[in-house]
């Protein structure tokens, strides 16, 4: 166990010290500095948004609520960030969770149906807002547990195992709401999506808190390391005594909980749970966010913060498309091209090729040495 930690840790440390001591501009085209390129991509997209709409960075306070495109971006990115947190851990174990969108729909449906009973005058304590939120999150955790059992215990390939709930989940959500799309008026649940603290939308706080909590959980303990080791080589980590089954169950449960909270936020935004459309395609947003954040789909090293950056990139791109004069027909193509460019920015091979292309120029300019 201890030996393995050393093995995994050593190269990382070397890399860090190298970066810190002899940083070279040239290395940008060679080395593996995902963080820099992800942040750069985000800045470029935000600046592009600013070019599209001069008021993009303008933030005004209206009725105690901050408004502006930048705030909209953060607010809209919150559910994607939440999903990407769980997705990062799952992908780090060489898995994938396709069911998060459907789990969002299930948990939104659960919360709406339960709170409707409270609003109808039921005195049952389980229908009080606090309990409704807790139950919805518990349901999310159970959905995650289900995925985890299929993947970890029955060894079903993650993409298929979670596809089951992805497909069935919307049906379950429809059964929960009886085919309807219930609305509610409860202020506590509405606060999940619409509330503000110091003018900042509540979902933004939720996303930040979730990020910090999960970060501390995996990085201040050996958990993160164990997750990575399971993703890199499940067999080897098994022989070193890592219980891959528990680790996998854990990451899918976290993913389910994150999806549940995202579902509560999306439902709260409109005080309405639509089993047909809630969280539709958001599993793809989350996966793209994780990939932009540099975590490999083949598992292993992961970064929660960079995945969150990835989510911000996706949302600022989406908001940019909303405010542009571009015809909606072009949205998907532009989105695809921009994401491709972001991924190319991060591709070591691509950068090396570009680096070779500019090599003669770099030689002439000592600044770059």
């Amino acid at each position: 166990m201890v030996e393995m930690e050393k093995q995994v840790l050593t190269p990382v440390n070397e890399n860090k010290s190298q970066k810190a001591t002899n940083f070279k501009w040239r290395n940008i085209f060679r080395g593996d500095n995902r963080a820099l390129w992800t942040i750069l991509a985000l800045i470029i997209i935000l600046l592009a948004d600013r070019m599209v709409s001069p008021t993009f960075f303008t933030v005004r306070m209206i009725n105690g609520r901050l408004t502006g495109s930048l705030i909209n971006t953060l607010d809209g990115a919150a559910p994607i960030i939440l999903l990407s947190i769980g997705m990062t851990l799952v992908i780090a174990t060489k898995g994938v969770d396709l069911s998060v969108g459907a789990v969002m729909a299930i948990c939104a449906a659960v919360s709406a149906v339960l709170i409707n009973r409270h609003e109808a005058g039921s005195d049952n304590i389980l229908y009080y807002p606090g309990f409704v939120i807790a139950i919805a999150i518990l349901v999310g955790a159970l959905c995650g547990l289900w995925n985890g059992i299929l993947v970890a215990l029955f060894d079903i390939q993650p993409i298929i195992a979670t596809l089951i709930l992805m497909v069935a989940g919307r049906g379950i959500a429809q059964m929960i709401t009886d085919g309807q799309s219930p609305t509610y008026t409860d202020e506590t649940l509405a606060f999940m999506g619409q509330g503000t603290i110091f003018g900042m939308p509540f979902p933004v706080y939720v996303a930040i808190i979730a990020l910090v909590v999960v970060y501390l959980l995996v990085r201040r303990t050996a958990l993160g390391l164990l997750i990575e080791s399971v993703g890199i080589n499940a067999k080897a980590s098994h022989y070193t005594g890592v219980n891959a089954t528990v680790i996998k169950l854990f990451v899918y449960i976290i993913s389910g909980i994150c999806a549940a909270i995202a579902g509560l936020i999306v439902a709260g935004e409109n005080t309405y749970a639509d089993p047909h459309t809630a969280g539709m395609w958001s599993e793809l947003d989350a996966i793209v966010a994780v990939v932009i954040g540099g975590t490999l789909l083949s598992g292993g090293r992961f970064s929660l913060v960079l995945s969150a950056m990835g989510a911000l990139i996706i949302q600022s791109l989406r908001i940019g498309l909303y405010i542009s004069d571009l015809h909606p027909n072009a949205n998907l193509v532009v989105k695809a091209i921009v994401i491709l460019l972001v991924l190319l920015l991060q591709s070591k091979e691509f950068k090396q090729a570009v680096g070779r292309l500019f090599k003669p120029v770099l030689k002439l300019r000592p600044v770059f040495k």
Binding site: V266, N270, D274, Y322, P328
Partner: protein, 316 residues
């Protein structure tokens, strides 16, 4: 001579068809009709199914209902079963996709079973089916625009929330709306984006419009469906404006939720997307069994409503 022969033949055919099918009653009582429905993917679809079932019961029609669960194969299988058993007088088909219906429609025609298409279109040759009963999306767009023109005296900067890109509902509603506002130079669409017919996305897009445009410059939001309009209303409220007053809200569908907003003064008008296509479809079946010629498209036009009371009065 040829003309006389042709006329004779035509007369013979008409008498023949009429003679065979004299059994059809005015409302279709006693008929057995197969209804292949797409599924139950939206609240509107469910109410459409319910409306058809209720209409059949009221008319004394024996309705064989088949839920295809979004699969064309299921629809074709159900139709083939009905054709093979020969116990249906007609088939009503709500197709899930446009293409791939030629064979089964031909089989139905060979078996002498008329097929009426409802809701979405098919790309088969119109001779293979009796008629198509569907909403007139263009009309809905025109009606919404006409209301807005009148409410604003033809002076209005509009933001548009489009439906799913490429869908017939989005394309045709947009075309109808634009057709009418083009007559008024003061009516302009200053921003337009797709909200995919989804409430959450309608809200997000409207938030973006309110941030990128000067909110005081936006006179109305035109949403291709009620869900997006309701999302937009939330966004307008969060931006500190009064929906229905500062920014007018007009949309299409007439789902139950929009009437809460209409009665609260937060939305202004909605055009009904009628789920009541059963009646015209059954009428078409009866007419064709009686040998009448029908146009190939029977549009079902919804009315525009500004409050719940009017709607309820029309749907008792």
């Amino acid at each position: 001579m040829k003309l006389v022969k042709f006329c004779l033949l035509l007369a013979l055919m008409v008498t023949f068809v009429g003679a065979v099918n004299v059994k059809a009653q005015d409302g279709g009582e006693g008929l057995t009709i197969g209804f292949s429905q797409i599924g139950s993917e939206s609240a509107w679809r469910t109410s459409f199914t319910d409306a058809v079932k209720a209409e059949a019961e009221a008319r004394g029609i024996n309705l064989l209902f088949s839920d295809a669960q979004q699969q064309q194969e299921n629809q074709i299988a159900a139709m083939r079963a009905w054709i093979a058993q020969g116990d249906v007088d007609a088939i009503i088909l709500a197709p899930v996709v446009e293409s791939g219906w030629d064979d089964v429609l031909q089989e139905a025609q060979d078996a002498g079973i008329p097929v009426v298409i409802v809701d979405r279109n098919v790309d088969s040759d119109p001779s293979l089916y009796v008629t198509r009963v569907s909403s007139d999306f263009v009309h809905e767009g025109r009606l919404a625009a006409a209301w807005l023109v009148q409410a604003t005296s033809g002076q209005c900067n509009i933001v548009e929330l489009q439906g799913t890109v490429g869908s017939a509902a989005a394309n045709d509603r947009m075309a109808g709306f634009n057709e009418v506002i083009a007559l008024f130079p003061g009516m302009q669409i200053i921003a337009s984006e797709t909200g995919d017919f989804v409430r959450a996305q309608g809200k997000q897009v409207m938030e973006s419009f309110l941030s990128s445009e000067d909110p005081a410059n936006i006179c109305a939001v035109w949403a291709h469906n009620d869900d997006m309009a309701i999302g937009a209303i939330e966004a307008i409220k969060e931006a500190g404006l009064v929906p229905g007053q500062d920014i007018l809200v007009v949309s299409v569908d007439a789902i139950p939720d929009i009437f809460d907003s209409l009665d609260a003064g937060e939305a202004n008008a909605t055009v009904e997307l009628s789920p009541f296509m059963g009646g015209p479809a059954f009428d078409a079946v009866v007419a064709t069994l009686n040998g009448e010629e029908l146009p190939k498209w029977i549009p079902v036009a919804g009315k525009l409503y500004t409050n719940r009371a009017d709607y309820d009065a029309d749907h008792q």
